[in-house]
Amino acid sequence: MSDTLVVGLGGVGVATCRRLIERLQGLGGRDFGGEIDLLLLDTDRTVLGAEGDRALFLTASAAVLDAAYRNPERFQSEWLNPEVLRGRRSIESGTQCSRGLGRFLLLLPENRELVRDKLASWFRARRGSPGQTAGCVYVVSSCAGGTGGGQICDLGYLIQDVAATCGASVDLRALLITPSHHRGAQSVAAFSTLTELHYFCDPHTRYRAALSSDSSLVETRIPPYRRILLQTSLTTDGTEIPLPELQEQAGVYLLAVTEGDTGVWGGERARREAETHWLDSDANPQPFSTMGISWLEFPEERLASAVYRNLVRRSVYPWLQGDVPISASELTAGAPMADSEAMATMMVDAVGGPQAQEEYLRPVRTRLPWLPRGTAGQWKAMDQEIELSLRQTVGRAPTQGQTGQGPMAERFDTVRGELVAGLRRQCEVWLRRDGVSLERVARVLNELATELRTRTDPVAAWGEAWEASDLSRKRILWAVDAAGRDPFLLFFRRPAKRRLAMEYERTIAQHIRNQFRSQSTPYLRELRAQVLEVVRTWAGRIGELGGLLARLSRSMADYESALLEKLRREEEDRRLILGALHLPGAETPYVANSGWHLPYCTAEEEMPRFRI
């Protein structure tokens, strides 16, 4: 007695089991661990043909259907739309994609008992086998048909109930062949089936149906299957896989997971499934997986993992051993941190640059035509207006533990962002460049940090320049006042004041520049301190990453070797079907593309691989 039972449900399920049988027959004479037990269920007599004892034909006579139509409570089929049964004769050729009818046929007491008896005999036989552990039951079906789609959920609970009755534990799994969404009616039925399964997989829902042999209700909150494997019919590039090929794939999959596995795959699969919770963080049931993922899990995933690790390890070589030189001047090309004058220009460009200066000089420019005739009081009023606007723009400078306020402080935030972004861009360029080592990047960043720490602004020179221009401004105002009283300027007061006005315009422009530059020094100091912090952090992290990669590189290489060695041993034992898979990319033969779909090998190529 095998520890695996494959139940082919519906036309597609039965056809898949036939593929499996053909392959098992093709492997005839080999020393298998045991045979795969099969159970074929369908509502179409022609599909089952002459399958003997392992086939069960689920049918109903016209009288039963009529009785159920007229008296549904007798068959506990109140849930069924009566129109499904209306006028039907005995069912010999399937449900014609009617899921309701399919479910009704399974739950009919006569059919249900047939299925229960078959399952119970298998479970009892297994229980009698010495050394047997939990049995594994695979139900393979299409999720689009009336029989497969309509019965898949109830059959799962029925198998669980029979197993519980027999005192056996069961690892119950479903393999559902999903049609393309381009197929209208089929895709609708498939959607209904999947929705139903999804619904009952949620532990917050409750399943109730008359599954017991005495037609009593079975109630449970557990999902119908431990895992539901969906075999999709579309490749990642949207190409539809023909149904026979899907059945072929499903057959080989069943062969691989049963007879082709000596327990390693089962162990690995159990480990991976243990990592998946029944519900995700959004409370969605998670027993579903797809054919591609399961197919790749073993052994290809290990190989892909090893190859990708290898690629990753190779890709970090330049980071560890690159010898392309870089210099800090590249880093500061877009961010002139070492140039105090350029930094000051960046700081005051928006608030005191040429554009902004026009705004400050407007009180002078508008007064120039009549300023030579103006009194000293009018000159002072103009000067105070300019001084006030300058003071408002400068705002409050940052001090120890206190941030600045005003337009210049806002400009500070912008400049800081620009500088950090410029440094980050350049670092990214370096890290992307071939042959630049992480250690070198970290060293250059440290050099920049040192330069920033030791850099001092010409505060004294800027302060003196500001004082000089301020003095000039005051002297002009005094000269205007004195010119009004000086007798020696008789006849020439107006030309003298005109000259003074022109000089004032020049001086105040210079004074604005000097004042902003002088006031920017606390901001520049703060700016360097903040950028220094960022640069130090980057340098530290990049250095740590380089050290980590250097340490990991060796362990990654060891792990790759172990994986590949293990795979090689399995290949020598001819346990892998890997060589029969056409992995894309001839130049990198074992690297799959980003999609999970792998081109499937033909039967002729595959068979030699199963020469166990």
């Binding site: 000039s472 002297r475 008789l490 030309p495 003298a496 022109m502």
Partner: protein, 110 residues
């Protein structure tokens, strides 16, 4: 007292106008040459005024007085002395009245 003709008075008036023009010319020229204006305006004004005064007195002494108002050697000698005195006085006034920027109250250098 010598009799001065109407032509003589005309020349005298014209010389005053020319003196003012010379003053303006010198004032503007000095301002052009010396920058900034706030520092040299008052000096330029004094240079202009003193120069034009000097030129005018020289004109009076060397041309106008001998031509229209001369009355003997003693008067000419007195005129020369008074010219020097006027010029010196004017220079003294210019120096004394030259505006000076007051020192700031905080004692810093101006």
């Amino acid at each position: 007292m010598p009799q001065i003709s109407e032509w003589g008075y005309g020349i005298l008036a014209a010389s005053l106008v020319v003196a003012v023009l010379v003053d303006g010319l010198i004032f503007r020229t000095v301002l052009e040459l010396l920058r900034p204006a706030s520092r040299w305006t008052f000096l330029a004004a004094r240079v202009g005024k003193l120069a034009s005064l000097g030129f005018w007195l020289y004109f009076i002494q060397s041309f106008w007085y001998p031509q229209y108002a001369a009355d003997g050697g003693r008067a000419a000698e007195a005129l020369k002395i008074s010219t020097m005195a006027i010029l010196g006085g004017a220079a003294l006034v210019a120096l004394v009245s030259h505006p000076r920027m007051p020192r700031p109250k905080d004692g810093s250098h101006v």
